[in-house]
């Protein structure tokens, strides 16, 4: 991977040779040396990063552009004017505000407005993920693995890698914006004018740039790459939730719409392409990114290579009594992630729940179509709580799948081998890990139910909502477990295919969130695992569905164990 670095050393510079070095570090070093040197070797570093990312970069950028093309063409083809008009009401409901955006211009809806308003935020999330992983990969991961030391030992400045990574990220975002403009412009949606299309795409790129800068800062704190990217992910989740709450308020003409202005995702949506066509919110992105980069450079200049700002403290000399069994180890290894998820899920649930009151108050003024979507006759409050149960099931599925993926990371990190080399059977290890994850998912669902229940009860004054909320959320755990078990089964047989779980998950989530809106047949919608348990309290819980999902989960876990007992372990 370090070919470019190595080639600069292939021919050692001769002392009697007056010409500057063949290319790369030496020449740039002298140029940068005059400028203070903290950016020496920048051009070489950028070329090197582009070389490393010669597949990754185009895959991300083309992938997101292709997703844009897919949304634009699919919606553009499926929706006729009549269908679109019926969307007007639908797309203005508070749930759509929460998951999609403020819905600018939906009262006089057009295809481009619909696509930008409903799908734009998901493209922004994709761009943010692209930037978080890119920055982490080229900065903290390099430091953690010790490769940064090899680079820094050459004529490279202290901030070269960070700045080079940021420039590569900016380049990726620029390429993304251009390709997205083209993909959207020449789609079946036929958006006009071109400047609005560009504004929309530039907003997505601007969000990407902000999260590149966010990751540059969060990566400074811990010596551990996962902590840095995890923190950046938490900022992204926070940005999504805050603008969601603001937009939910906005579509109900509430007075909390300013919340959207606290989020970089919100700024991009506030450009309102195809409606207001405001360019100035992009300046907010620019300013925030610049400030964050200055902070990152400042922090980086103060710390040692490969060190965090937060120092490692000494720990226990002896293992506690619980750390004696595979179950104890699995719990210990998943503990910190579960703690953070618990905090996040509970906070989110209380916040979401506390919007129940506002929802109930505005229900009187809502058109019957929306009432219908929100759970119909059972009333808007029950509908909202039932929907939240399903919504949290999706979020917590992400936790469960990530936790099972951790099992693979353990194996690839050669940490499973010494455990199995002790008197621990394979079934015992796999089941211990699965058990901790499954109970963790159950715990998080209960926590979400409690949070939503407390929020709902406080905002409406009706504590009768608490019990049903907890029950409705808890029941949805069955759906979470199916995808968890699928990941376990894939781990047992073909760990390399574990990513398939994400595809099934994404499919189920899209079907559940957008399927009804796309007016798909109920039979197709029912292929989503999240649509079977029933959105209690708005709908009845289906005991058969819960038992069926539990049965499927059990079978999948057994398959996983069978597979794991048979296969070779991944070794160093």
């Amino acid at each position: 991977m370090t070919t470019r670095i190595l080639t600069t050393h292939d021919e050692p510079p001769r002392p009697d040779d007056p010409s500057p070095g063949p290319r790369g570090l030496r020449r740039e070093a002298t140029a940068a040396g005059r400028q203070g040197g903290s950016l020496a070797g920048l051009a070489t570093m950028i070329r090197f990063m582009l070389r490393r990312d010669r597949w990754r970069l185009p895959l991300w950028v083309l992938g997101l552009a292709a997703l844009t093309a897919y949304f634009a063409n699919a919606i553009g083809t499926v929706m006729d004017d009549e269908a679109l008009a019926s969307m007007t009401v639908f797309a203005q409901n508070p749930i759509m505000g929460l998951i999609s955006g403020p819905g600018y211009g939906f009262e006089n809806i057009t295809l481009p407005r619909f696509i930008a308003g409903v799908y734009g935020v998901f493209l922004m999330l994709g761009a943010a993920m692209m930037n978080i992983t890119t920055i982490s990969r080229h900065t903290r991961v390099e430091e953690q693995t010790g490769r940064a030391e090899l680079i820094r030992a050459n004529v490279t400045g202290r901030n070269t890698q960070l700045i080079a990574a940021l420039l590569v990220a900016v380049l990726m975002n620029a390429a993304l914006s251009v390709l997205m403009t083209l993909a959207f412009r020449y789609s079946a949606a036929e958006p006009e004018p071109l400047s609005s299309v560009f504004l929309f795409s530039l907003g997505v790129g601007a969000v990407g740039c902000v999260f590149a800068a966010v990751t540059a800062v969060t990566s400074q704190f811990s010596a551990f790459a996962r902590a840095g990217s995890g923190l950046a992910g938490a900022v992204l989740a926070g940005a999504f939730v805050i603008r969601g709450l603001g937009d939910m308020s906005a579509v109900q003409n509430g007075d909390l719409d300013w919340l959207a202005w606290l989020s970089p995702l919100g700024w991009a949506q506030q450009t309102a392409p195809f409606v207001l066509d405001r360019w100035w919110p992009l300046l907010l992105h620019l300013g925030l990114a610049a400030a964050l980069i200055l902070i990152a450079v400042g922090l980086q200049s103060k710390r040692d290579l490969a060190a965090g700002i937060l120092a490692d403290r000494l720990g226990r000399e002896r293992a506690g009594a619980s750390l004696s069994t595979p179950l104890g180890l699995a719990l210990r290894l998943q503990r910190s992630s579960l703690t953070w998820w618990s905090i996040g899920v509970f906070t989110m649930a209380v916040v979401f729940g506390s919007f129940t009151g506002a929802m109930a108050d505005s229900a009187a003024g809502m058109p019957p179509e929306i009432i219908d979507v929100m759970g119909g006759a059972a009333g808007i409050v029950d509908g909202y709580l039932g929907y939240m149960a399903m919504y949290f099931a999706m979020i917590i599925t992400a936790y469960a799948v990530l936790a099972v993926l951790g099992l693979r990371a353990e194996e690839q990190g050669v940490r499973t081998e010494p455990v199995l080399a002790a008197a621990v059977g394979r079934s015992s290890w796999l089941l211990s890990w699965t058990c901790v994850t499954a109970l963790g998912a159950l715990w998080l669902m209960i926590l979400a139910g409690v949070g939503d229940g407390v929020g709902a009860a406080l905002s409406t004054g009706d504590w009768g909502l608490f019990g049903p909320s907890v029950l409705g959320h808890t029941a949805q755990t069955a759906a979470v477990w199916v995808l968890l078990a699928l990941a376990v089964a894939l781990y047992g047989f073909a760990p390399r295919l574990m990513g398939l779980t994400w595809i099934i998950f994404a499919y189920s989530a899209v079907m559940t969130l957008f399927g009804q809106m796309l007016q798909l047949d109920a039979k197709i919608l029912d292929t989503s695992v999240f649509r079977h348990v029933g959105q209690y309290p708005a709908q009845d819980l289906s005991a058969e569905a819960v038992l069926l999902l539990l049965g499927v989960s059990a079978v999948l876990v057994c398959l996983g164990v069978l597979g794991f007992r048979r296969r070779n372990l991944v070794t160093a």
């Binding site: 720990g315 226990r316 000399e317 002896r318 750390l323 180890l329 990190g413 081998e417 010494p418 008197a423």
Partner: protein
């Protein structure tokens, strides 16, 4: 499941074991036997199949054909029961970033069936390890110490050590050697895979040399020495013409009054008798080192068939009596 095992019979026995990864034959009919209570050196360059063999013995990898017995049992079927009776140290220890070294030591030992606390503390002291540090802050050598301490503090019959001292400094290497001698005195069996020849020479009773997935030489170190050549330098006033025609004399060379040659160890008595008839001012005989034993198996093939072969040769110290032919040939 606890199984009763006959206490006689070899500790480790592999017969005609084949392991393939796709088209690559990692083990190609490997035979290996380790008797109970012995320290068995397992030598070979990187990629020869040492780690694969040990992982098959652990029941972590399957094998395609052949028979594998560990303490009399099939390690794939009875992995858990067997693992109560053995401890394993890999050459590249990975620890959990958030667990301290002390926690990892206890965890491994407890998962094996128990830890001798007094022994654990004594070993931590001898290996000079701070057990309160987190796994991510340890250097390679310290991670290695964690696995070693945990293995040595467990009361087990068998130690499977796969290049266990990679990254340890010479002081710690000495502590390690002491500990292995103690383990031997306590009657434990040790399979010590290594490419540090001095370590194997100092510790092992028996040695097996692996090359490309096959055992090419196996036996007591003294027996193996017998098969090899002794380097001899004689300062003698007159020429010794008989040497030119004698069996067992190789690469004879005369520089000034000094004769250099290498002698088949089996022919030494005859050679010494012949030399005895001449005016000898000094005589130096260097017994074959393990390097030479290894080189016997690695210098007679193409130099480019396996890069790691060359690495072994060039890092080995050139023994005085080793033929210059073998070195130049392999290095070219």
């Amino acid at each position: 499941m606890i199984t009763t095992t006959p206490s006689e019979g070899p500790a480790i026995s592999l017969t005609d074991v084949v392991k393939t990864y796709g088209r690559v034959r990692a083990l190609d009919g490997l035979d290996l036997e380790v008797a109970r209570g012995e320290v068995h050196g397992f030598l070979g360059p990187n990629g020869a199949g040492k780690s694969t063999t040990i992982r098959i013995l652990l029941g972590i990898l399957t094998h395609d054909s052949g028979r594998v017995r560990l303490l009399g049992e099939d390690p794939w079927k009875h992995a858990v029961a067997l693992h109560r009776r053995l401890a394993y140290v890999p050459g590249d220890v990975e620890l959990w970033p958030g667990l301290t070294g002390g926690e990892a030591i206890d965890l491994f030992a407890r998962l094996r069936g128990g830890v001798d606390d007094r022994r654990r503390d004594e070993l931590i002291d001898r290996f000079d390890l701070d057990p309160r540090k987190k796994g991510r802050t340890y250097s390679k050598g310290n991670r290695q110490k964690v696995a070693l301490i945990s293995a040595l503090a467990s009361n087990v019959d068998l130690l499977l050590l796969d290049e266990p001292t990679a990254g340890l400094d010479p002081l710690m290497e000495a502590v390690f050697q002491e500990c292995i001698r103690e383990a031997k005195d306590e009657g434990r069996t040790v399979l010590l895979s290594s490419h540090i020849l001095a370590q194997v020479e100092a510790l092992a009773d028996q040695v097996s040399i692996i090359r490309k997935g096959r055992i090419v030489e196996s036996g007591a170190l003294s027996e193996l020495r017998h098969l090899s050549r002794t380097a001899i330098t004689v300062d003698v006033t007159t020429d010794v013409p008989q040497l030119r025609t004698m069996d067992g004399v190789h690469d004879l060379e005369r520089i000034g009054t000094r004769l250099h040659f290498s002698a088949d160890t089996a022919q030494l008595p005859a050679i010494v008798r012949t030399l005895g008839e001449h005016e000898i001012r000094s005589l130096t005989a260097t017994p074959p080192t393990l390097e030479q034993l290894l080189l016997r198996h690695y210098d007679d093939t193409d130099s480019n068939d396996q890069p790691s072969d060359t690495q072994i040769l060039t890092t080995a110290q050139s023994p005085a009596g080793l033929t210059s032919r073998s070195f130049t040939e392999v290095r070219s």
